[in-house]
């Protein structure tokens, strides 16, 4: 909860806000979470989801595109983090789009229609929420690689979809959080998809296993690249943070390498 000391991830994302006066710092930004087979980055999504739905910002809305898990999974995980998704869904703050089974099959028109219809759904939620004076809208895509599979591998269409979603971030001040798997593309010569995604992203979060292998008290390391931090002078610069983490049921511990007691 927010009463606790802010953790390193929040600091790196600029989510630390003592007075609760500033607007949601991730608005109009794209966050890309990359993970690997050995280290899942899903906990970052859960954390951001919980932050976005936290009771302090009761004007926030989350649109969740679930390709990876059913609702019951997220519900149970978030409940242990102290956030009731079922209640939030009833309050119209959490819009869950179950895309586990949906396909956007091959064939030009059909394919585009599938994704276009999906985008239309998102846009409708976003624009109505915007009219209802909701402060910030977060769009979360759990597992972009599965979306690619659902579109039967047509990279262009899913990238178009992503770009459309990105226009929402500038038009309505939404934030867009996308999870993808880095190691899928590491063996491809010119991985257009992941390169474009990294280019589009304002904040890049990488979850990697430790180089020394698995350990019980350190589950991996996070690298947060925050592009274009504006400081007081108005100049912009990149900020990189690197720290270790340990995932627990009710939260995640973050600590600098070697500082775990």
């Amino acid at each position: 909860m927010d009463q606790r000391a802010p953790n390193l991830l929040d600091e790196a994302l600029g989510l630390v806000d003592e007075e609760k006066t500033k607007p949601w710092p991730l608005s109009s930004r794209v966050v890309l979470v990359e993970d690997r087979v050995e280290t899942s980055g899903a906990f970052v999504l859960h954390h951001l989801l919980k932050r976005a739905l936290s009771p302090h910002s009761s004007n926030d809305v989350v649109v969740f595109l679930a390709f990876s898990q059913p609702f019951s999974h997220y519900d149970r995980v978030l409940r242990k983090l102290g956030c009731n998704l079922t209640a939030q869904r009833e309050n119209n703050r959490f819009f869950f789009l179950d895309l586990l089974m949906s396909e956007f099959p091959d064939g030009d028109e059909e394919n585009k229609d599938g994704l276009v219809a999906l985008y239309g759904k998102i846009e409708k939620v976003v624009s109505t929420s915007f009219q209802e004076n909701k402060k910030c809208i977060t769009i979360v895509i759990d597992d972009f690689s599965l979306m690619e599979v659902a579109a039967n591998g047509s990279t262009n269409y899913v990238l178009d979809f992503l770009r459309y979603c990105r226009t929402l971030t500038s038009a309505f001040g939404c934030s867009l959080v996308v999870l993808n798997h880095e190691d899928i593309y590491s063996s491809i010569e010119r991985p257009a998809l992941i390169l474009q995604m990294e280019y589009l992203a304002d904040i890049l979060i990488k979850a990697e296993p430790l180089a020394t292998g698995l350990a019980t008290d350190v589950h991996g390391q996070l690298t947060v690249l925050n592009k274009e931090i504006r400081d007081e002078q108005g100049s912009s610069r990149n900020k990189i943070c690197n720290f270790h983490f340990r995932v627990k049921e009710n939260g995640v511990e973050y600590f600098y390498p070697g500082s775990k007691t």
Partner: protein, 458 residues
């Protein structure tokens, strides 16, 4: 008789509260099937009467006397009735003697003893339900088995049939539990494979397993402690009641008896000649549609086994997007039904990028590898090398309804055949000499698809 309990009763979940004195002085012996809550309640009662009488020192003395007077082992089986008559040993003070079974913590969760109406199902944490993999050791490694709704992928060794060992035991276990099965393989006659399934045998007669219940009769040192053993060892007390066993030991040399196969719901599909995967997807969908997920009551679990999914003799094997799309839909379908799907595939036949995609989709990811017969160097590095038939790697353990990863002590296990019949998994033991190269061997034992092989360089 002695105020101790025999192992069998303790294991069945009886919490004996042998002697309980009411303040009036009458001795009452309680020996019933008590739930934990009842035990807690009666303990509270006991404490209440204790404080009422305030005879603490005497209780202590009596307890010591009871221990000292009970040096000989208790009889193996003891009917509750006889216990009731003999247990009422006169106690001089009108006080209470509590020799009920101490628990490590009153609030510890006793997952293994959650009663299940259906055999072959076990309740796990986070609302998951496990079914057995058919290999007791694998169940233990994975924390209980395969959770319902999960997709298990086994990466094959392209040159050895070790994945078949896992697949056979998985299928046999399902048939023994009368769970419906769908089996797809790239062979011409998949039904014939059912004839090669192993039958449940009992490895209890060989004494190599420690804590053998057969040893109970003999004299043993510190026999009183044996009631603490095997609290969570679900399959050790299983020879008493074969019907409700969660996980069997399978005798790989005997084929499964006919009555397990006949009259059961078994679908066999050959994926050899189908030009695309639509047919297989439909079969899986209709198979799984019979077992929708219903959290309130689980009648039965079903199993899907797909062998060598991307085998090159299949006509669709060059359509990588079709295959990955099938895996995705299979995963989604399994998620919403009471089933577990095990898919084996040779990762070397896929492009590295797609192999990664498949691995990401797996909930539980295993890989098997053969080891060469005569490898002098390895034989030097590992103890018990002669008995090994292969290596099993656990890359990922299913993480359903939780975000916490399961970190195992060891991820590489040796596959051994005990008495050439029973499949056992053991963590690798390095021979004491030359430990540095032993470590590097242990890590490079991960499968070819794993990226860790590259980054680790000792």
């Amino acid at each position: 008789m002695k105020p101790t309990t025999s192992k069998s009763t303790a294991e069945r979940g009886l919490y004996p509260l042998p002697i309980m004195a009411s303040p009036e002085g009458a001795l009452v012996v309680l020996f019933h099937m008590l739930t934990f809550r009842e035990v807690a309640l009666s303990l509270l009662l006991l404490l209440g009467s204790l404080s009422f009488l305030s005879y603490w020192p005497d209780v202590h003395n009596l307890w010591l006397a009871g221990v000292a007077g009970s040096r000989e082992p208790p009889p193996k089986s003891e009917s509750p009735a006889s216990t009731r008559s003999t247990k009422a040993k006169p106690v001089n003070n009108n006080i209470v003697m509590a020799t009920s079974k101490p628990r490590t913590s009153s609030f510890s969760r006793n997952l293994a003893t959650v009663p299940s109406s259906t055999p072959g199902l076990k309740y796990g944490p986070n609302g998951t339900i496990f079914i057995s993999s058919g290999i007791p050791d694998l169940d233990k490694i994975l924390g209980g088995g395969f959770p319902l709704g999960s997709l298990v992928m086994v990466m094959e060794d392209a040159e050895a049939p070790h994945h078949m060992l896992l697949l056979r035991n998985f299928m046999s276990q399902g048939l023994v539990h009368k769970q419906p099965l769908l089996y797809a393989s790239p062979s011409k006659d998949p039904k014939g494979f059912l004839g090669t399934l192993p039958t449940p045998g009992s490895s209890k007669d060989d004494k190599s397993r420690d804590r053998d219940p057969e040893n109970e009769n003999g004299l043993r040192i510190a026999w009183q402690y044996k009631k603490y053993f095997g609290d969570n060892q679900y399959h050790f007390d299983s020879n008493r009641d074969v019907k409700h066993e969660y996980c069997h030991d399978f005798d790989l040399r005997k084929p499964l008896e006919k009555h397990f196969i006949s009259g059961q719901h078994i679908d066999c599909v050959s994926i050899l000649d189908s030009p695309n995967l639509a047919a297989l997807r439909d079969r899986c969908a209709t198979f799984l549609a019979q077992f929708p997920r219903n959290d309130s009551s689980i009648s039965s679990a079903s199993r899907i086994a797909i062998q060598s999914f991307c085998a090159p003799q299949c006509k669709y094997s060059n359509k990588e997007w079709d295959m990955v799309s099938f895996i995705r839909s299979l995963r989604s379908m399994v998620r919403s039904s009471n089933a577990v799907a095990v898919v084996t595939f040779p990762p070397s036949l896929l492009s590295p990028s797609f192999s990664r995609r498949w691995q990401h989709m797996a909930d539980t990811l295993l890989s098997v590898r053969a080891i060469p017969d005569e490898d002098k160097e390895m034989a030097k590095l590992l103890t018990g090398y002669q008995d090994m038939v292969g290596l099993l790697n656990v890359h990922k353990v299913a993480r359903i309804n939780t975000q916490v990863p399961v970190i195992l002590d060891a991820t590489t296990f040796s596959i051994k055949l005990q008495k050439r019949r029973f499949l056992v998994l053991e963590s690798l033991n390095q021979a004491p000499i030359d430990s540095s190269s032993g470590t590097s061997y242990g890590t490079s034992a991960s499968c070819s698809g794993s990226s860790k092989t590259g980054t680790l360089d000792f």
